[in-house]
Amino acid sequence: MPTFDYAPAPESRAVVNLQPSYGLFINGEFVDGSGTAFKTINPATEESLAEVAEATTDDVDRAVKAARAAYRGVWGRMSGADRGKYLFRIARIMQERSRELAVLETLDNGKPIKESRDVDVPLAAAHFFYHAGWADKLGYAALGPDPRPLGVVGQVIPWNFPLLMLAWKIAPALACGNTVVLKPAETTPLTALLFAQICQQADLPPGVVNIVTGAGPTGQAIVDHPGIDKIAFTGSTGVGKMIARSIAGTRKRATLELGGKAANIVFDDAPLDQTIEGIVNGIFFNQGQVCCAGSRLLVQESIADDVERRLKRRLATLRVGDPMDKNTDVGAINSRRQLDRITELSAAGEAEGATRWDTDCPLPKNGFWFRPTVFTGVSQSHRIAQEEIFGPVLSVLTFRTPAEAVAKANNTPYGLSAGVWTEKGSRILWMADQLRAGVVWANTFNQFDPTSPFGGYKESGYGREGGRHGLEAYVQTGGVA
C-alpha cells in the first residue's frame, strides 16, 4: 500500500527578530523592570527564547500613572473618530506583520503555526477592525445617550491565546476611550511585546497602552493598585475568585472570563461526519487549552459506539509534533506545569475506572507533549467530567433523552459554552434555551467572531467580550435628563 508521507514543511522563523532581552512597555517606551528578569521558552523544544523583565509594584505604579496621564491628557478627550483612526492603523499593521506575529506566537506558545496563522492573528486583527468601527458610534450602541470611558483599565490575560486575548481586552477598552495596563502571561509574553512595538509604529500616544510582564505578583499589583478603575481578567476560576475578593469593597469594576467544562451534545440525527470534525475541533484545537473547549462529549446512547469508532479513526490522522510545521494539527502543551496537571487528571480518570485511549503517535523527545486522549465510560461523578483539564483529553458520556442531555450538560459549576449537533432546527432552539452557557454553538464548535458576545454563566465568570455587549464593560452608562 502506498503511503503519502508529507515531507517536513517548516515555516521559517527568520521573519522574527528576537531580542535577547525585553523590558517593560511604559509610557510609549521600553524601560527596564525592577524585578528579577525571567526566561520565556519554546515549549516545543524547551530552548530559551528571550529574557523578559519582571514588573514590581513600583513598575506597575509607573505604568498606571502613565495610563492615567494619557487618559486625562489625550485619549479620554480625543474624539471617537480619531480613536478609531488609531485602532484601524493598529489593525492594518497587525495584518501587515501577521506572519511575524504568527511565528512568534507559535514559538512562544507551542500552538501549531496553522492555527496562529489562520485563527489567532486574523481574529486579533478583526477585533481591532471591529472596535475601530464602534469608536465614533458609541452613542448609538444602546448604552445611553453619552457613554463615557471608565478611565484606567488593568487587564490580565492567559497563555492559551496570548495575542487574541490581548486584542479582546485592548481593542474595546481603547475604542471606548480608556487607557490600559496589561499583563500577559509569564510563559507567553512575546507577542504582547511585539504588539507594543506595533503601538509605537502606529504612533499611538504614549501611555495609552502599557505592557508589564511578570507572574502572579505583578498581576496582584495591578489588581490592588488604587489608580485602576476596572479589572478585566481571563484565566482560571481560582484566580478569578481571588481577584473578586481583592477588589470587594473598592470602586473597581471587574469582568471575569474564567474556566469551563463545556458539553458537546450529539443527537442521533446529527450530521455525523461534520460532527466528528466538530468534536475534534472542540477538544483538540489549541491542544484543548481553550476555556470553552468541548471537553465533555455527551452522545446519544443509540449512536455512541458508531461515534466512538469514527472519532478514533479520525484521531489517528491527526498530525502531532513540531508546531512550526505547516501540516501539524496538534502542537505542544504550553508549560511543564500544565503538562503535569493534564497528566495528573488523566491518571485520576484511569484510577476512577474510565477507559483510556490515545492515538499512540510518536512524540518529540524534548518539549511538553500529550497525545490526543479519549476517555469512554465516564460518569458525571468522575473528576475528568467535573474538573477543567485544559488539555487534549476528551471525556465521553452518554444520554438517552434530550432532557437528560440538558440535565447533564448543566450539571457543572461552569457555564461558558456548549455545542448541539442535530439536523432538527426546533431541537437546536429548545436546547439553546435550556442550556446555561454563555455561548451555544449549533452544528459547529469553537467559532469566534468579534461581533458575537462571549462570556460565561456561573463560575465561568461575568461580563461579555465582543459585540455590542462587550462595549458595556468599558463605559459608564447613563442618561442625560
Binding site: P2, D269, D273, Q274, E423
Partner: protein, 343 residues
C-alpha cells in the same frame, strides 16, 4: 449506519444480481421507491458549512519536495485523459492516445495516465494507438452528457462501446428521475447498464457512474446518489460530465470519499471515486490526493480506485514535474499538447 455482522460477498453481489444484494442490504423483500427512499434518507445528513470547512482545511496541507514529486507522479497516473467534444476527430483521438503513451518525450520516466476517455465511436481509433499498452480506454455512454434518451438507446450505446473495445464505461444517471425521487428507476438503469458492460467472455468493463453533482446541488443529494450508485453496482462514482458547472469541487469529492469509505465498512467491497471537470492545476490535484489520503484512506491512493477526469491537468502536472527536475519553470512550449481545445 451500522456495520453488518456478515459481510456480503462483493464479487457475487456486484456482478451477479444487484437487486438481490440491495434487498439483502436494505432488509426488504421488494425493492421499491419507498424502500429505497427510507434507506437513502436514513443516511446521516451533511452539514454544508461543516463539510466545506473540512474540505478547506484539507486544502491547507503543505505538500513540498519529495512528497510533492511523489504526488505529481501519482496524480499523472490517475488521469483519465479526456476529449469529449463534438469536434473530436480520429486524428485528435490518436494524438491524445499517443500523448498518453509518452506524456513527456523529454523525460521518459514520466508515468502514463490511467486511461484515455472518449466518445464510444472513437474507441477503435484509440485502440489502434494504445493496443495492449496498459493505458485503458474509457468510453462515455448512455446518451452522454444529458442522459435524455430511452433505455434501449442507452443500452445499445453501452454495448456498442464495449464491443468496440472499451475497458471502462462512464455512464450518466437520469438526474431528472433522481430529483423526482424515482430511485428505483435510477437503480434499474445503472444495474442494466452494468449488465450491458458484460463481454461475451464473461469479463466486464468497469462502470463509472456519473451523478452530475452540479445538477444535484445539495450535499445530501450527492451522498444519496453515491449510495444509490454503489448499491446498483457501479464500480466508480464520478462527479460530473464536465459539461455543467460546478463540476468536481473538493467538498463534493469529500462527500463521495466518505461514501466509498463507509460502503466498504458495510459491505467489505472497495469502490472507486472519480472527480471530473474543473481540476486544472497540480495544486488542486494535490488537494484532492490529500483528501483521498485522509478521508478514504491510503488504500485509495491507486489509479484502480481514484481517477481524475481531466484534459488540461496533465499539462500542468508535467510542467510542475519539470520544474522539480530542473529547478525552473519551463513554460507551456515545453509541454507537448496533441489535443489543444478548439475554444
Amino acid at each position: 449506519m451500522t456495520v453488518l455482522d456478515t459481510a456480503v460477498d462483493p464479487a457475487a453481489g456486484s456482478t451477479e444480481d444487484p437487486a438481490a444484494r440491495a434487498r439483502d442490504l436494505l432488509g426488504v423483500s421488494r425493492l421499491t421507491d419507498t424502500s429505497l427512499t427510507r434507506w437513502l434518507h436514513a443516511l446521516p445528513g451533511v452539514d454544508q458549512v461543516g463539510a466545506e470547512a473540512r474540505a478547506a482545511s484539507l486544502g491547507t496541507r503543505s505538500i513540498k519536495t519529495t512528497s510533492k514529486a511523489w504526488a505529481i507522479d501519482l496524480a499523472i497516473s490517475m488521469i483519465d485523459l479526456t476529449t469529449l467534444e463534438g469536434a473530436d476527430t480520429p486524428g485528435k483521438v490518436r494524438g491524445l492516445a499517443t500523448r498518453a503513451l509518452t506524456p513527456d518525450p523529454a523525460d521518459l520516466t514520466t508515468p502514463s495516465p490511467a486511461a484515455v476517455c472518449v466518445y464510444g465511436d472513437m474507441v477503435p481509433f484509440a485502440r489502434e494507438v494504445l493496443g495492449h499498452s496498459g493505458v485503458r480506454i474509457a468510453a462515455v455512454a448512455t446518451a452522454f452528457p444529458s442522459g435524455r434518451a430511452s433505455m434501449p438507446v442507452k443500452l445499445a450505446d453501452t454495448r456498442d462501446a464495449v464491443a468496440a473495445g472499451a475497458d471502462e464505461i462512464d455512464m450518466v444517471i437520469d438526474r431528472g428521475a433522481f430529483l423526482a425521487g424515482h430511485y428505483r428507476q435510477v437503480f434499474d438503469e445503472i444495474a442494466a447498464v452494468k449488465a450491458a458492460c458484460r463481454r461475451p467472455d464473461g469479463t466486464s468493463a468497469r462502470l463509472k457512474v456519473i451523478m452530475e453533482t452540479g445538477e444535484l446541488v445539495t450535499y445530501d443529494n450527492v451522498r444519496r446518489a453515491s449510495w444509490l450508485s454503489m448499491l446498483a453496482g457501479g464500480d466508480f462514482i464520478k462527479t460530473s460530465t464536465g459539461k455543467i458547472s460546478p463540476a468536481a469541487t473538493l467538498p463534493v469529492t469529500l462527500i463521495m470519499l466518505e461514501a466509498v469509505r463507509d460502503w466498504r465498512e458495510v459491505t467489505g467491497q472497495q469502490l472507486g471515486v472519480k472527480p471530473a471537470g474543473g481540476i486544472r492545476t497540480s495544486k488542486d490535484a494535490i488537494k484532492f490526493l490529500v483528501a483521498v489520503n485522509e478521508v478514504a484512506g491510503p488504500e485509495w491512493l491507486d489509479n484502480h480506485w481514484f481517477r481524475f477526469g481531466a484534459s488540461s491537468l496533465l499539462n500542468d502536472l508535467i510542467l510542475q514535474r519539470q520544474r522539480l527536475a530542473i529547478g525552473a519553470y519551463s513554460g507551456s512550449d515545453y509541454v507537448p499538447d496533441d489535443a489543444p481545445s478548439l475554444y
